[in-house]
């Protein structure tokens, strides 16, 4: 049986990759993909703890997260398309009007 901390280590690695992706990539689509990585790292953590404690709660929580993530991706991509039509760009560093 695979020990729990393996799962946690994988999740931590995925989370770190996701955070670095969100912070460093310019293309918003990549940023979205990195966000999915972060979410899935959380999902892995939930599943891992559910297995560790023998509870089904973590499974249900993970399925909720997947559903919300799907909805979030749909809304996010919609905004992104609308934005692209206006500004001809999907680079996050060029979207900086909202400042002092």
């Amino acid at each position: 049986m695979v020990p729990t901390w393996h799962y946690l280590a994988l999740a931590a690695a995925l989370f770190t990759v996701g955070v670095i992706g969100v912070l460093t990539r310019r293309n918003i689509i990549i940023i979205f993909m990195s966000l999915e990585l972060i979410l899935n790292a959380v999902n892995i953590n939930l599943i891992a703890f559910a297995r560790h404690w023998g509870s089904v709660d973590g499974h249900i929580f993970a399925i909720f997260i997947i559903t919300v993530a799907a909805a979030e991706a749909a809304v996010g991509l919609g905004i992104l398309i609308a934005f692209f039509r206006n500004r001809d760009t999907v680079n996050a560093d060029e979207i900086d009007l909202l400042k002092w």
């Binding site: 969100v22 912070l23 560093d93 900086d96 002092w100």
Partner: protein, 693 residues
Amino acid sequence: MPASFLDAVWLVPALPLLGAFLMLLIGSRLSNKIISWLCCGTIFGSFLIALGIFRDLLGLPATDRIYEKIIFTWFPAIPYITDGGNAANFQIEWGYLVDPLSSVMILVVTGVGFLIHVYSIGYMAHEGGYYRYFGYLNLFMFMMLTLVLSNNLLTMFVGWEGVGLCSYLLIGFWFLKKSASDAGKKAFIVNRVGDAGFLLGIFLTITTFGTLSFTGINAALASDTFAMGAPAITAITMFLFIGATGKSAQIPLYVWLPDAMEGPTPVSALIHAATMVTAGVYMVARMNGLYQLAPTTMAVVAAVGALTALFAASMALVQNDIKKILAYSTISQLGYMFLACGMGAFAAGIFHVSTHAYFKALLFLGSGAVIHALSGEQDIRKMGGLWSKLPVTGKTFVIGALAIAGIFPLAGFFSKDEVLWRTFANDVGHGDLFTKILWGVAMFTALLTAFYMFRLVFVTFFGVSRVPRETAHHVHEAPRSMTVPLMILAVLSVVGGWVGIPAALGGGNRFEHFLAPVFASHVELGAAEHAHSLEIGLMVFSVGVAVFAIWLAYYFYIRHTEIPEQIVYRLPGVHRLLYNKYYVDEIYDAVFVEGPVLGKGLATALGRFDLKVIDETGVDGTAWLTRSISRLSIWWDTWIVDGAVNSLGWLVWALNWPARVLQTGMVQRYALWMATGIVLFLLYYVQRYILGS
């Protein structure tokens, strides 16, 4: 209770003013026929009213023949203390004064003016600017009537300047011709010199009398004790006379009148012979109350008049331009009028004004008909033998020439002999020798007058024709609109003098009696009694002189045409001097135009003064001052006003620095801060956990 025509006196100048307004506003859209009817109609209306006024005036007793009509108050009353210490209420009204003098003047002005308007219909028929011509002519009539009807010196000055303006406009009527526009300017500028004198006279009148109205001045003269020869009155009359020398073309300001012949011939007849140039004489006669108190001025007036008469007549002897001869003749005749005024014979002067208006208008209009017939030729050397071709013009012209020469019983005889007799007989304290010299000069001028006029008649109308072939075949008599005024004026030139037949010839001299109330003297003029036989003897003598001069002209210019050339050959200097008009124009040009002191030198000095003092110090200094002040304003605005606003902005900008650094608008930066925060939190709890355990 004034009669109706006297009450309507304001219509006399108003009708021509209406005509002038219509012409100058909408005249360009009217046909020539309408313009002719309208403009002659306004003058004819004025003439009829003037006739009515004259009749009404005759209906009044001689002492009541004065009627003043105030139209409006021009300058409201202000209290004023005169130089003599008298309190006066200085006020100027726009009013009309009807008395024998002004009624005679408006009759002459409107009557002769009407005939000249009618004549102009024919003369100007083929000229451009027909409406403009008649508009100016009507405007002139308005100004002239304002001048002679005004009841005070200031409105008279308005008319005085107005006729000067119209004179300028009409001399330069053909303004595309340089000589014409130059002549207009010359007339205007020379008149300015005289007008300056007139204005000074007006100012002095105000300070001396505290009023400008003629009735007011006469009342002051009657009540106040202004001594004979009072300095103030001598100064006023002298200044006014300077004005008169400008307007009436006397020495030294006569130079503009010969040049004024550049204008259309009817204009020369109306303005520069019959009416405007007599304004000076009228003014002196109007102010006779003052002049009678200034024997020095009277002597100057008489001397200038006699001298001008002689001077101009001598220049007329050798001129070859038909209109120039008549112009010099006009100057000479005006000299007679001033001579009469200077001798205290104001009535004789005005008498000569009226008869001169008839025969000089006739002569000018006749010369216009000749010029018209010869397609614009004015040189009498290219005329001759026109008697049979221009029957009406020729006959009327000879009548005019006989009248001006003073042949019995034409108009000129009575008026000129009245002037000569008064010069001979009046004793106004000039001294016997002086008087007799003036009389001799006047008599000699009469000889010259008859001579040059008949030189003109013989050279133009008789002898061999020297008309060039190309113009000779279409020489034609003028149209009826021109010949009818000529005939009427010819009749007037014959009978015009009969209103003033002197007592010596069994007449009543009604003219003088009619004018007598105006010229009632405030001081006793020593009127020497002379026998009628002496007066008749002098008349016979002067007619004899005139007949001799005519015979001489006949002998020189018909019988022995070589004699004038021989005289020119013998006396080249005299001829050149006369032909070049004593070089007066050249002298004026050298002194006042090109001269180093009064001409160019003065102009250069004034120009430099203008440039240095007015421009560089005054205008540029003001500009510099303005610029400096505005530079100060700029500094204040930039550093104080803007500085306050900007420093407030800078303060806000400085205070918001932390917020500005945080809020970049970049989502990823925010995410980084958030991640950093979370990491710091985690590190804190990890550290607590490690230390706590």
